[in-house]
Symmetry: C2
């Protein structure tokens, strides 16, 4: 997609065709102007997670700003006969003028949590479904996996380095989501440029192979990057690699990285060898196919830092969060609100607009309390010892929350760290389980 | 990323920091100019697949064209102290002037297949690693899953509708990869606009819920979209939905869609009901959590078309193809070529530049024959009954293959259909297994 500063890249066609087909039909029969409430939520926590972590809403707001149908988009829709002339004319001036509320980025979610609530005319709210789900399903899946890894790593630093195992743009978003959920750095440079996330990385095996000997590679790296750099010591023989590293760098070498082998054994051997050579301050980073379970298994090993690739960017077995976007209420022809829902057995899919609160006891979360307010009065006041979970992102079409750049991401990271402290101990286990706190439904008719 | 037509969106920072750190160090010690050969390949077929499908190279070439370090990128690298002033000056004029050969999109691959070979100065070839892997790992994972679903579906049409379960840009790429591997359409509008992929979709449950009754929703949809449309019949009661659909539309209704329930049972019931009402030509589309196994299980059911979401865009359990990008040969200071490899047990990681051929017997593939030509003479002539698998994409920095737009994608889809016909029958099984044909290594020193 090409763009100019005045007409940014349009995000409007990052959309399923049926959103526009429905819009087209609704303009025909007059239902396009009915006020609607759509909610984005998860029916269950995919992968037996004990909690979910919201990520992506800041990115979504930025993409929403560029959700406009320009000449390229309209020409395509016309040529594809996706919509008729009346709808094309409507789309040319499409602008979201409704209200969006939602959970802050970094917040936790549970089954039924109204992570995002979009209210507006059907024609405005329905077409945001695909984009909202794409962003939040991806980013939340990564953030949830990242939080589990961060719990497993404890105080040890974690870096995200999975860009090569994710689509090139999803990789940037994944770095952001992982950082919000507790990672300390990323290898992805664009994530650094766009959101101020600390970037890291020194050398791959190609660096060693480029040189005539491992020693020459190490010397050149230290020459260029300084003694505090991290040398990759497993291109040939690890024992030899450690010996060469310390011979070349001296005992002041910053770190070594191990990218293969049976890590608990290899890390212990490398630590002993480093200590024996007097390099007691040289750090050990491990980076070989780690996930939360492998990290947990290394807790007692002399490892100083973890680099995680594939598993964090692919959600560690759960590459999408399973969030859905459903119409839960609408006005009828007379302007009265009606709660609506598809026939379904699951509680989380019930109709009516929801207000959400995290109840706490002595600072520890005890429930996700969701009040179903069919009458559409304002959200009830928070219970004592409860925190209201929804904030206003967009009001009458205007974005009213700070979300952009490094500031938005840093705030989300701080918020996540704070709310994770509220979790009960059982939330910290890694095995498949029920949600860490129950969802309590309160019907308020 | 903003951009103007004259300075397109830069893709240069979709890159791991260590690529630039190595470049920086290589400029210091003079190894940056050493000619290198990097190969992109898979060590094994992830997920017990019997074959892999190459996808993404066309997208990669397009992204390569925009791989330039502009002011924004250079400023970030300077501020982050990722590289020094000499390297910044080098990057400002960075341009790939080497050669890239590879497997055509849609081609099959097996362990060790040299899917992409990048030859150039270390400084030019090393920095493409992350972007090349991001694109090919994602797109090939989706294409491989899609091919399995296409095999399971047989002659019945398949549509990709998983945009909401993938990052918003990966969703567009996934639609493209699925189409190359045999899907017939996508719900993703941007994929339609960019690559001419047929788009589809009519209505979601929200359409029915927006209306006062299911009947009003169906009437309005037919009014706007015509009798050939597909009505979603499972918002409330399926039996009632079918009855209403035919009452409203008559027996000429194009189709009905079922998005929930136990599909083999429900599809049979709906078919019987439609037939009983005289709507014998009304098609049944099913779309509920399908993957290749569910599709195969529906082979004997009266289903006319499949819509697949989550599983195809997430690679059906294998969200990344596990491809790696490795230095396999380089020149030394005297200009002689040296084959290089990390110490490793796996055959696929052997050093030296590879040439690849698919051997055939009576039109059926019998092996992936990979000739390791350390001497760097030109590729040997193809064996009799063997097809050379590599074509030149980029020559001295110029893209010399047609890859863009609808033409490139259509050619890849046609190529895939042709080469899939060469597969032995055992390749078509869905269970985890060994590769369908062996990789035969030929050392030619």
């Amino acid at each position: 997609m090409s763009a100019t500063p005045d007409s940014p890249v349009s995000t409007a066609l990052l959309t399923d065709r049926y959103e526009l087909t429905m819009l087209d039909a609704a303009l025909h029969d007059g239902t396009a102007s009915r006020r609607c409430v759509f909610e984005l939520f998860s029916r269950r926590l995919s992968g037996g997670r004990r909690f979910g972590v919201v990520a992506g809403s800041g990115r979504l707001l930025s993409l929403l700003r560029d959700f406009r149908f320009g000449d390229d988009q309209l020409r395509f829709l016309r040529d594809a006969r996706a919509v008729d002339a009346q709808t094309l004319a409507y789309l040319a001036n499409w602008r979201f003028t409704g209200t969006i509320t939602g959970y802050r980025e970094g917040e936790l979610y549970f089954p039924g949590s109204p992570i995002l609530t979009v209210e507006g005319a059907f024609a405005e709210a329905v077409v945001l479904e695909t984009l909202a789900l794409s962003v939040l399903n991806h980013d939340s899946a990564v953030a949830t996996a990242a939080a589990r890894m961060s719990i497993a790593a404890g105080e040890r630093p974690l870096a995200e380095m999975g860009s090569r195992r994710a689509g090139e743009h999803s990789a940037v978003a994944a770095a952001r989501a992982a950082y919000i959920a507790g990672f300390g750095a990323t290898s992805n440079l664009e994530a650094g440029r766009r959101w101020g996330i600390p970037t890291m990385g020194t050398a791959a095996h190609a660096w060693t192979l480029l040189h005539d000997t491992e020693e020459m590679a190490f010397r050149a790296q230290i020459e260029a990057l300084g003694l505090d750099t991290t040398l990759l010591i497993d291109t040939y023989d690890i024992r030899q690699g450690v010996e060469t590293a310390i011979r070349v760098a001296g005992t002041g070498l910053g770190g070594v990285r191990i990218d293969s082998g049976d890590l608990p054994i290899v890390a212990a051997e490398v630590r002993a060898q480093l200590d024996g050579l007097g390099a007691t301050g040289t750090r050990i980073t491990v980076t070989s196919d780690l996930d939360e379970y492998a990290i947990a298994a290394l807790a007692a090993s002399p490892v100083d830092a973890y680099g995680v690739g594939t598993s964090v960017v692919t959600g560690s077995g759960t590459p999408t969060a399973g969030l859905v976007y459903k119409l839960v209420a609408r006005q009828d022809a007379a302007g009265s609100w009606i709660a609506v829902a598809k026939a379904s057995a699951d509680k989380a899919s019930k109709g009516g607009r929801k207000s959400a609160f995290r109840t706490l006891d002595g600072g520890t979360a005890t429930s996700e309390t969701i009040v179903v307010a069919d009458g559409f009065e304002h959200a009830p006041a928070a219970h004592d010892d409860a925190r209201a979970l929804q904030t206003v992102f967009v009001e009458e079409g205007d974005i009213v929350t700070a979300f952009e750049g490094a500031g938005g991401v840093a705030a989300a990271r701080t918020h996540h760290a704070a709310v994770r402290e509220e979790l009960p101990v059982r939330a910290l286990g890694l095995s498949r389980s029920d949600p860490a706190i129950p969802t309590v439904w309160v019907d308020q008719d």
